[in-house]
């Protein structure tokens, strides 16, 4: 049985010109695997991730024919059900840790708080273990530090620790590494990778970086203007059929291949259908 199934997910925002649909009928199943969602800005990839966690910002509205997490129907979930799920069984890592960590609380307290809400026991030991697991070299110091005292990469790792300390079954990572330097990025990805392999966590990895997603994930959904235009195994990316996917891949400059001018993505109105 799959961990998460989404059928015909739609997210609509009201605007002065009438409702605007930013996610238009997304359907997919997620097992205990790494699923990548790739698309450009405005493709609806982030809103898809938020809708799954019931975090569509008002006045937006999310609807679906089916939105099930581990057999629980999320569509009309009560506030109580959400509280029991978010944080403890499903989590989200955002792009910028600065907005997701409480600036006036130490990392340690935030970790313990997160544990308490999900009913954890020996809090401090567990929190420290988690900080070590995300490759923080000096967990004692980070435990006592406030978010602003940490560097970008350290903050991002602390945030991932926070999201993972409750051992969620599903993690949605929205551009978790694009604010990080490439060398740190690799480490963060290794941590996520390990969690999927060792704990059987389901991971949705949302990114604009096709090259990164294809090398990191098992399966890739390519989104364009609110729709999934192509779904394929990551290793088959070079065999992609849809002209949008191919265009996205070709327009990236490559070190070994000195093609100029770079091929430019020609958008086709028919892709919107």
């Amino acid at each position: 049985m799959s961990l998460l199934s989404v059928e015909n997910l739609r997210v609509t925002f009201p605007t002065r010109q009438g409702p605007s649909e930013v996610v238009r009928g997304v359907t997919f199943e997620l097992g205990r695997e790494r699923l990548g969602i790739v698309g450009e800005s405005g493709s609806g990839k982030s809103q898809t991730g938020r809708a799954i966690l019931g975090l569509t910002p008002p006045p937006g509205k999310a609807t679906a024919d089916r939105l099930e997490f581990d057999g629980i129907d999320l569509r009309n979930a009560s506030a109580r059900t959400w509280r029991s799920l978010r944080g403890s069984r499903m989590s989200m890592v955002m792009q910028d840790p600065k907005y997701s960590l409480n600036p006036v609380m130490t990392i340690g307290r935030q970790l313990i708080e997160a544990l308490r809400y999900s009913g954890g026991g020996a809090a401090k030991a567990e929190a420290m273990a988690m900080l070590e697991a995300v490759q923080i070299r000096d967990p004692e110091r980070v435990f006592r530090a406030y978010p602003h005292e940490l560097s970008g990469g350290m903050g991002q790792r602390a945030m991932i620790a926070m999201m993972l300390v409750t051992k969620p079954d599903l993690l949605i990572a929205d551009e978790p590494t694009s604010a990080l330097d490439v060398t740190v990025q690799v480490e963060v990805l290794r941590i996520l990778d390990g969690l999927v392999r060792d704990r059987g966590m389901g991971l949705i990895f949302i990114s604009h970086d096709l090259r990164l997603v294809s090398s990191f994930c098992d399966r890739v959904l390519v989104m364009y203007a609110g729709r999934v235009v192509e779904e394929l195994d990551a290793r088959d990316l070079s065999k992609a059929q849809h002209p949008y996917t191919r265009g996205l891949m070709n327009c990236l400059p490559k070190i070994d291949d000195d093609q100029r001018p770079l091929p430019v993505l020609e958008r086709d109105a028919a892709w919107l259908e």
Binding site: T183, V186, R190
Partner: protein, 258 residues
């Protein structure tokens, strides 16, 4: 180290130091960087955040405090503060097109201001031409930045930099805030403008592939120091000498499981 000995370099930095002081804090953002860029060459600076790569560009323009070393343009030391003649020679394109255009000025206002400052004539034609050259029609002339997409804004920023007809363009991560497909369009535009006008580029980026595509030669910076200087050919053949450059090269190809 400077691969151009036969003639005077267009732009040259020697033992450049940049130090920021605020109160008792002293941050040495750039430490002893040297490079020379020939006329018409495209030169790249690669590094991660905090490597000092953008600070080098800002120091050239007089936006960052130089605490040691020299910067020369056409073999002459730069006046401090920079004068009007310098700004007609050297212009810069900033990283974030959402932050580099004044929110209350129309595109027309953005483009006419430099012309007014430097007393150029034929302003109408120059503005129309600048917009056409960067692939925007005159339709865009009286719009506000918020009516444009990120790629269109960056084109406006490029038009603004080129309207004074400079010979050197400093590019500070000009595409890192843009989508991949838009990045390709902007890189092609920059490439075309350089060959058409014989411009000299100094481009800064964290993306090795982008710099390799745009630049003939590049230096890698880390923690304010120059780590390695490479040519495009060396990069394509993966002939990196230092571990750090090799790490960057590996990361640019995506994720490899440990």
């Amino acid at each position: 180290m400077a691969g151009v000995n036969d003639k005077v370099a267009k732009l040259e930095a020697r033992d450049l130091d940049v130090t920021f002081r605020s109160g008792r804090d002293v941050v040495r953002a750039v430490r002893g960087t040297s490079f020379a860029v020939a006329e018409g060459e495209s030169f790249g600076i690669v590094g991660e955040s905090g490597s000092g790569k953008s600070t080098v560009l800002r120091a050239i323009c007089g936006l960052a405090p130089v605490s040691g070393g020299t910067i020369k343009l056409d073999g002459r030391d730069l006046p401090n503060p920079r004068d009007a003649a310098f700004y007609r020679q050297v212009q810069m394109v900033f990283q974030d097109p959402y932050a580099s255009l004044h929110p209350r000025h129309t595109i027309d206002g953005v483009l006419s201001e430099p012309l007014a400052i430097h007393g150029f004539d034929n302003r109408e034609e120059r503005i129309e031409k600048a917009l056409t050259d960067v692939g925007l029609g005159s339709d865009f002339r009286f719009r506000f930045p918020h009516q444009l997409s990120g790629g269109q804004r960056q084109r406006v920023a490029i038009a603004r930099a080129l309207i004074l007809e400079p010979s050197v363009l400093l590019l500070d991560e000009p595409t890192s805030a843009l989508d991949a497909s838009i990045q390709a369009e902007v890189l092609n535009l920059l490439d075309g403008l350089r060959s058409a006008r014989g411009l000299t580029y100094v481009m800064v980026s964290h993306d090795l592939a982008v710099v390799a595509h745009m630049c003939d030669r590049l230096v890698v910076m880390q923690h304010g120091r120059q780590v390695e200087e490479l040519t495009r050919a060396a990069l394509q053949a993966h002939r990196a000498e230092t571990d750090y450059t090799r790490q960057l090269l590996a990361a640019s190809e995506g994720y490899t499981p440990a």
